[in-house]
Amino acid sequence: MSLAITNLKKRFGDVQALDGISFSVAPGEVFGFLGANGAGKTTTMRIALGLLRADEGSVTWQDRPTRSWPRRTWGYLPEERGLYGRMPVLDQLVFYASLYGVPRDRARRDALHWLARFRISEYADRRAETLSKGNQQKVQFIATILHDPDVVLMDEPFAALDPVNVALLKAAVLEMRDRGRTLVFSTHQLDMAEELCDSVAIIDRGRLVTEGPTREVKRSAGRQVVRLATSDDHDLSWLDELPHVKVTRPGRDYTELHVDADGDPQTVLRAAMGRGESVLQFEVADPSLEEIFVERVGAIDTTERTLAAAPAEVAR
């Protein structure tokens, strides 16, 4: 019943963009698609939407190939913003929606509603090119969901947004999920994914690194994070002597330790109390997605191996 991506392979010239990617997205969840630039996120999305053809593999939604579903099933927010610069905002929103078969008057009404919700009503009759990047981004999001698609795929939707707009967009995403829509978005902002996603997949250089519910992915490392603050933080050497414990971040407010799979965080607490110090803070948590990512993939690669340029390889 899910959006199932099975063994996708795609080659552009010399570059193997996708090398057997498989994962599935359950209906009604927010799914994070994580990877560095050039990992294959955009290519996977384009194939899922039928804009590109895979060399191998399949993408199905509710057991039918994604291409066989009506176009209005899908909403797509590409990474590069695509608006007609010289066309008024409202006109192009109505245009996009009517391509999906939404009657013009309904599209108009819904568009005005969304513009108000995103606090950009006053730009309805302005040409798109006169809007700021962040506002164009919001218009683009409205264009993506105006026809109320069942599955929404978004490529880096939070890029170029300030914190206020990020919050507006997050609220919209969660509301759509609550209405039973399935939302997939790619990002390299891992804290965003951690906050928003029910499940995630991490890919690197066209291969799947890990996937699953966010919680399980975070636990997959098998270790736990302990944050500890005591009345006497000056001497931390006793922590290093505990088995299965590693101090990762000595700090002023608290000290962060990793307790590996064989250890028990409670031994840390007992040891601290045994030293006669008063424990001000003791917290057991899963490692962050960022830590998992860095551990599995290495630091996020900032060198550009840009996604959009990849299909140009066709031209060879």
Partner: protein
């Protein structure tokens, strides 16, 4: 969502966006003004000549025995139409006002003062012949002098005939022109001979229509390509590609731009024809009731107009889908000119052949011309020249239309495949080999 609805949605946006641009509005208004101005040029010229440049010529007759008054004769001869082909009646009039004066001396003073351009003195010498003297500040070889000299010859001949006893009525039949005709060597052939007035004006018409079709294809074809590139470079393509198929996008674009072309050309045609039809009435208003009406150009028949519309529309469709496919291959406006080169060359070749054929530089009756007029990329230009030349058999028109429609279907199929793959290519310009592969595999 059916195919057609999306095609219409895309076409509608394209159309509305284009006709709302300032360049389109100004361009159309300018073109309309130009067409109307050209249509009224003869009247304007006549008006200016009639008022501004009237030349007064005085006639002083110094002999009492002239049988006929020379003033009306001179007037008629000086103001006779120049006989240029295609001249509008009255436009060739000399603009002379001829009147008789009683006194040569004061008339000569009046010439010096500028009241008259010239005064013509007519006397009889001892031999009985008429003697003409033109008193004027103009050059002896000027237009006035030459026309007056010709008119004087006529007056002299009439006078000599008079003295020989030929009555004025007989003189008229004496000078009636001979009946003379040019005809084709083949019996039964009735179309107007080459170079005749009638044929000349329909050649001109076919020529004009060919120019219009060529302009439409090149102008709006480029527009289609630029519009595709605009969607690519603004990355709108990726968004709308999720909603509509490449074929719908391409068809909508071609139809949208095509409708803009139809509107613009329709407006020009309507304005032009209306101006021509109104010419007579406007001429009456401006020049007075004597001015003759103006007819539609010879050869402008319903059939001709239908052929013009059919070949214009089909020719545009054929080229436009290829322009769209070409546009899909590049992602920057700067690269458009390069990638539409094949279409530009092909249409220019067709156009030049048609121009040479209608102006007689190429023999329009040659066998290879018959074949060429069937070739889809050439026929929209060439066939009109052949139609006005009266050279086309009905089967030729039918065959060329069928071939043209067939070519559009094939071009549409190839272009849609190139377009489908091309629209997501960004970066370098694809090679011929790539284009071939795209056309074969589609993606």
């Amino acid at each position: 969502m059916s195919d057609i609805a999306n095609v219409i949605t895309v076409a509608r946006r394209e159309f509305l966006t284009r006709i709302r641009t300032r360049t389109f509005v100004f361009g159309t208004v300018l073109l309309l003004a130009g067409v109307v101005a050209i249509a009224f040029v003869p009247i304007i010229v006549q008006y200016l000549e009639g008022n501004g440049t009237e030349e007064k010529v005085a006639v002083w007759v110094g002999t009492p025995d002239l049988a006929t008054d020379p003033v009306p004769t001179l007037d008629a001869l000086l103001n006779a139409p120049t006989g240029m082909p295609g001249a509008v009646p009255g436009a060739g009039a000399g603009g002379f006002a001829v009147s008789s004066v009683p006194d040569l001396g004061s008339a000569r003073e009046a010439v010096t003062a500028g009241t008259y351009v010239a005064v013509l003195g007519i006397e009889r010498d001892q031999g009985g012949e008429l003697e003409f003297t033109l008193y004027t500040n103009e050059r002896a070889t000027g237009r006035t002098s030459q026309l007056v000299q010709q008119a004087s010859n006529a007056v002299t001949i009439a006078d000599r005939l008079e003295r020989l006893g030929v009555t004025p009525a007989d003189q008229a039949s004496l000078f009636a022109p001979a009946s003379y005709e040019v005809a084709w060597p083949e019996p039964g052939r009735t179309d107007p001979p080459e170079g005749s007035l009638e044929a000349g004006s329909s050649y001109l018409l076919g020529f004009g229509m060919t120019i219009l079709i060529f302009m439409m294809i090149v102008l709006y074809g480029n527009w289609v390509a630029a519009s595709v590139v605009e969607e690519k470079s603004s990355r709108v393509m990726e968004v709308i590609l999720n909603a509509a198929t490449p074929f719908q996008l391409m068809a909508g674009k071609v139809l949208g731009v095509g409708s803009v072309a139809l509107v613009q050309f329709g407006a020009i045609l309507v304005a032009g024809v209306a101006a021509l039809l109104l010419q007579g009435r406007v001429a009456e208003l401006v020049l007075g009731p004597a001015a003759g009406g103006v007819d539609l150009p010879e050869g402008l028949t319903i059939g001709m107009l239908l052929a013009f519309v059919a070949y214009g529309v089909l020719g545009f469709l054929l080229y436009a889908v290829l322009y769209a496919a070409a546009g899909s291959l590049v992602s920057r406006q700067e690269d458009v000119a390069q990638v539409v080169m094949p279409m530009a060359l092909l249409s220019t070749a067709g156009y030049i052949i048609a121009v040479y054929a209608s102006t007689g530089l190429l023999d329009i009756r040659a066998g290879w011309m018959v074949l060429l007029a069937l070739v889809p990329f050439i026929s929209p230009f060439l066939i009109l020249s052949r139609i006005v030349a009266g050279e086309v058999a009905p089967w030729e028109i039918a065959a060329s239309l069928v071939l043209l429609v067939g070519a559009i279907v094939v071009a549409l199929w190839i272009a849609a495949r190139i377009y489908a793959a091309g629209v997501l290519i960004y970066g370098q310009r694809p090679s011929l080999r790539t284009i071939w592969r795209l056309a074969r595999t589609g993606m």
